[in-house]
Amino acid sequence: MTEARAPQPSPRPPDDTVGLRGDSRPKFLASSIRVLELTLGEMLWSRRTVFMLLVVGGPVLIACLLRLLASLDLTPFGGDGGGSQPRVTGPAIFGLMVWGFYLRFTVPVLGVFYGTSLIANEVEDKTITYLFTRPVSRGAVLVGKYLGYLVCTSVVVLPSVTVVYFVIVPVLGGGVGENFPTFVTDLGLLVLGLAVYGALFAFVGAWFKHPLLTGLIFVFGWEPATMLIPGYMKSFTVSYYLQGLVPHAMPQEGAMSLIRSLVQAFQTPTSVWSNLAWLVVIWLSALVMAVWAVEHREYVLEQ
């Protein structure tokens, strides 16, 4: 067994004993970055990331399946291409998957699942004590964990979208190059969605007693319900502004017409900049409220 050595004091700056040692603690953002570095490894290599990979692996599998069917000339994508019903091309399918799967499902679900548990996981694992007894503000801890969430989800989601893009867009003559600008916009949109939903549910996680249920009700209850109600109610959602930024042109006829009409029902007549501005407002205000909630709330650990 290793013998312990007598502790040697490290050099210290002059001390005013009753007061505080010179304020050498890191500033807010630097603290957040340090918390991010501390917890990033734990977040990336946990079971939760496996769950994330399964979620984003689904569309990749679908894309590969559709590509395989197309290569075997078994494409069932509505119509035979030669008659009155045009076929659905690869770019349209990609647009559908971005809208129908990533934006409507993956992004909000990851936001709910991980945003609501930024601090709650640390409390459940009882490791929050170490973070809250350091000379960093609790808000900085939350922001650091939030940045970790953003990095982890982006690292998992964006490659999935990229793979789907390169697999599915060439189906039935789609061009990878000509659709590239739209693809880049999609990537930006997804990151924005992850950021906004994550911030919103970080606040929900910091404030509410049952944040997961609250988040699920918001995403799968409130948001779809308000879309069906005419008027201004839909502006109290995130998806209203995100859907308004979706760049994809949908096919005019055939099997996709229903989907197109649904997309148009969600799209807003307001400008892109207006939607972006509102998203930034939601993002910032949710983060500020989350920081405030964490700074003022007590976390009693389970004994």
Binding site: M1, E3, P7, D15, R25, R34, T39, E42, K126, P135
Partner: protein, 308 residues
């Protein structure tokens, strides 16, 4: 007299209907202070209030002259070793302590050096690059200590630091605590075992049911316990024979028959137990089936103190 490092004034904390800490007023000076009390006495609640994890329901607690709740600045001079066994299991001991030390504002190199020094101090340098998930219980306890001391704090709060340690490590940790005190640090150690606290310090705070029962020198408190008459309940096959053997002993203050039990009051419990053991071994008083002490010593001291 050195200024108080930790000050509590009418400090109370309750969780719904449950009172965790009740109207505690005290000052903790520099040196080692033992916080002694049974399980559920309020030791951890007090520690959590002092470390700013809980907000006082009433009263105040100050560390280094400032209220600790909502003010992270005091943590720069504080190290806390919690009682719970919780870590980032995938990290190595060195990685974990270094990462936590960086939160004090040190750069990577300085934090690494401080972490290495801390792990060396607690005897974990050989396993520093092993994952914490592979550590034994004693190693886990020591790595917790390491993260608490890495930034060379002026105030150390150790919640049950010897839990799960084998005797050699307990001795070593007690030695470290005494060394830290000699270096001028303030160390508050909580435990429910009087002998452990006695080995570290002579200054204790006795807490029970959320209240401070006594504070001061441990010898004085021990004397108080010894002066207070102890009741011992004996169940035997022939309680009258046992009573006849004990009645002439000078340390036996009274004898009472309660059904098939004999309740003895003594002012020298150590001497009495030795005498009773000898009687049982000799077999002259029949069989002794059961020996219990209906007095909770800490409660007895509290009642004794309340009556004074």
């Amino acid at each position: 007299m050195s200024p108080a490092v930790v000050s509590a004034r009418s400090l109370s904390k309750w969780y719904g209907q449950v009172i965790g800490l009740n109207d505690v007023t005290l000052d903790i000076p520099s040196g080692v202070v033992g916080l002694l009390g049974p399980n559920g006495a309020g030791k951890s609640t007090f520690m959590k209030l002092v470390t700013g994890q809980l907000k006082p329901s009433q009263g105040s607690v100050e560390v280094f002259g400032r209220p600790i709740w909502g003010d992270p600045r005091a943590y720069a001079r504080m190290g806390y070793c919690p009682d719970q066994d919780a870590f980032y299991e995938r990290m190595t001991g060195l990685e974990w302590v270094t990462a936590l030390t960086r939160l004090y504002g040190m750069d990577d190199a300085a934090a690494g050096q401080a972490a290495t020094r801390a792990l060396d101090t607690v005897g974990l340098s050989e396993v520093a690059s092993r994952k914490i998930g592979a550590y034994s219980k004693g190693m886990r306890q020591r790595v917790k200590l390491a993260q608490a001391i890495a930034n060379d704090p002026d105030l150390l709060l150790l919640d049950e630091p010897l839990a799960g340690m084998d005797p050699p490590n307990r001795r070593r940790t007690i030695g470290l605590i005494k060394t830290w005190a000699r270096m001028g640090k303030t160390v508050v150690v909580s435990s429910h075992i009087l002998q452990e606290i006695e080995m570290m310090t002579s200054t204790i705070l006795l807490i029970n049911n959320g209240r401070i029962l006594a504070e001061g020198d441990v010898h004085q408190i021990r004397d108080l316990i010894d002066e207070h008459p102890h009741k011992v309940s004996i169940t035997a096959s022939d309680t009258r024979r046992v009573a006849r053997s004990l009645v002439e002993d000078p340390h036996v203050l009274s004898l009472n028959f309660d059904g098939n039990r004999l309740v003895v009051e003594t002012d020298q419990p150590d001497t009495f137990y030795t005498r009773l053991t000898a009687l049982a071994a000799q077999g002259e008083v029949g069989t002794i089936d059961e020996v219990t002490s209906p007095d909770d010593n800490l409660q007895a001291v509290f009642e004794y103190l309340v009556k004074q």
